[in-house]
Amino acid sequence: MALLQISEPGASLDPHTRRHAVGIDLGTTHSLVAAVRSGVAECLPDREGEVILPSAVRYCADGTARIGREALAGAVSDPTNTIVSVKRLMGRGLADVSKAGRLAYDFVDAEHGMVRVRTAAGIKSPVEISAEILATLRQRAEDTFEADLYGAVITVPAYFDDAQRQATKDAAELAGLEVLRLISEPTAASIAYGLDNASEGLYAVYDLGGGTFDISLLRMRGGVFEVIATGGDSALGGDDIDAALADWALARAGVVAESAGDRRAAAMAARVAKEALSSVDRAVFVCTVAGTKVEQAVARADLEALAKPFVDRTIAAARKAVRDAKVDKAAIDGIVLVGGSTRMPQVRRAVHEFFGRAPLTNLDPDQVVALGAARQADALAGNHGASDLLLLDVVPLSLGIETMGGLVERIIERNSPIPTARAQSFTTFQDGQTAMSIHVVQGERDLVADCRSLARFELRGIPPMVAGAARIQVTFTIDADGLLSVEAREETSGVEASVTVKPSYGLSDEEVTRMLGEGFGHAEDDMAARALREAQVDADRLLGAIASALAVDGELLSSEERASIERAAADLRATRDSTDRAAIERSLKALSDATEAFAAERMNRGIRRALAGRRVEDL
């Protein structure tokens, strides 16, 4: 077969081979998909011309699902089968969700910790529900381009923990999307804002959405977006204000919303009134509860009194982020507002007051995240003109491990730049001990009980030794998506201890496989045929990537080294067209192994290039 024409990021692609990469904002209330077309980022509309897809999924008894506006129509009449704000359930356990309170769903507590919802179409995990939304957006993009997608950048709240990020990535994979990168919503917004306005300097992004709040401080300079500090609350948003207003209005009317449908109706009525109060001083809360029509006048001052505790929490988080960044508020060049809730005059006022300057409002707070994600997707796909963009993000929450007495030993501090890694040594405390368990948590508190449990790692295969003799080096890595991985090795014997991860709020690999098998638009696909096709796509990608790497940096290799890579490539090209998936995978691995040393040399060359022309001062 011919080599695919794939070029290195930074090199220009032939316009006919332009890759279709999209940015997706998977929001609590709304979701959007955007792409860069003819150099301009734009949100892609559906057939009716709407760019916003309500993040709602309604399950029907025949096993099908309705997504978006069509689903929302059932929110009141069929509340337990109509899932809205599913983002608030991602990577969460039943206890977390109950704390949030009063959600209409029929929850099932699951063995792996992440909450499940019982619907007419069966028990669904938040990952599957989110995948329905993502698959709808993927379809929309593929219809627009009349082509398959190369990949997607999915945004997550900056303050999402590892479990929430992993759940988002799982959902995207389930929806058949190749995840190029997970990026933070405020970072995405800053890309859209910064690139469009050629901004330089220190910016704060205040992002108050339907269910999450983020504050990020970042420096923009020549296409580099460097996050300095981030903070927030992944369970604080406009939904909370709606709920408070609904409670207040019903209490004033002396009505109690008992049923799930009534509660949903009240929350929706509250949202309508809240949105109206952004432009007028008085509105009416109207809904039907228990068959009775409730009408309650609401003044903007009433709403502001109810919203104040939530707005105050966002300002407290902003204060903490500014402190973490070790910057002076006066040094901030601009404040970017993101998220529908920032349309509230009260929020704008509070932000203005805290930062001592008026926030920037010349962008659409609903679209800016998807637009920024689209820019990053375009850059990661290696499309022409997008290569100067670079995001340097941080980990939002400290990572720690449980030690004696339920205390946390911190191993990676919050706001550390990612990717990052930290190695920690452990030893055995009993003679002949061959296994140990490590509990990883995320959060800023000193007690394990006050942090979020991420996972328990079982290390097995430690060679038997006397107590205290083994030295087990455990490396915790947080990658550029903000996701954690763990490796372990016994130092004195060099034995790799095997690591089994039990995520506290995740899905097991078997569950993901089962869900993949169940569909999302490709239920009829034969699993084996799909696996073969995937191996072939991997082969094409690898051959293309190595061809372009050789073209750029080939002279780093001796002729023998080059010959050995070319032999492995020729072998993969030969097996690629067979139907033997295992053979393709073996050739893939052989070619990948053959390029290890080459890859390291390429990095060293990059480091020399980065410092070339910079004066190396005298020692």
Binding site: G10, R319, I418, P419, A545, D593, E596, A599, R602, L611
Partner: protein
């Protein structure tokens, strides 16, 4: 991978305490511009792994060089005089007395003004300690004295964090 082992060498900077933070940050951006995993999103697995390791290495070195106390401890270690804060906790009596006096004045401080006064004293002591540290490292090249100063500054920074917490609590 044979990534440069010395942080200063990796960033092409002289091995000394005095450092231009702007230059350090600019070099981090230039290095990440070459090795960050985003630059290899479409690359093969080996290149992705190598990029990941290099980006981790650059970030780790940047964190160590950017923080004056970590940088000083690193210089001591490179000079063969590690700080050994975990097993060398012997501090001069005067220093410990001063520490206790500070702790007491912080405990007794009830008002914002009183905490501010503690913070001012602390800031001046901290400035003095960093000046002594810079001189020990860059002028006298007395790494034993520098290591002792680093250990003292660890106490001071810990106390400074507590003072900060108090100030935050007072802000409400």
């Amino acid at each position: 991978m044979n990534l440069v082992a010395d942080d200063f060498e990796l960033f092409g900077l002289p091995r000394r305490f005095a450092l231009d933070r702007g230059e350090l940050d600019a070099r981090r951006r230039a290095l990440q511009g070459e090795v960050h995993p985003d630059r290899f999103a479409g690359a093969d697995g080996a290149a992705k792994r190598a990029a990941m390791q290099s980006a981790v290495r650059v970030n780790e070195a940047h964190v160590r060089l950017a923080d004056p106390l970590k940088r000083a401890a690193y210089l001591c270690e490179l000079a063969g005089t590690p700080v050994r804060a975990e097993d060398n906790t012997a501090m001069p009596l005067d220093f410990l007395r001063e520490q206790m006096a500070w702790r007491e004045s912080l405990d007794d401080a009830g008002s914002r003004a009183e905490v501010d006064a503690v913070a001012r004293d602390l800031a001046s002591a901290r400035r003095g300690a960093y000046e002594r540290l810079a001189s020990a490292l860059d002028e006298r090249r007395d790494f034993t004295a520098a290591a002792q100063e680093v250990r003292a500054l660890m106490f001071i920074e810990r106390f400074a964090a507590d003072v900060d917490d108090r100030l935050v609590a007072l802000e409400g």
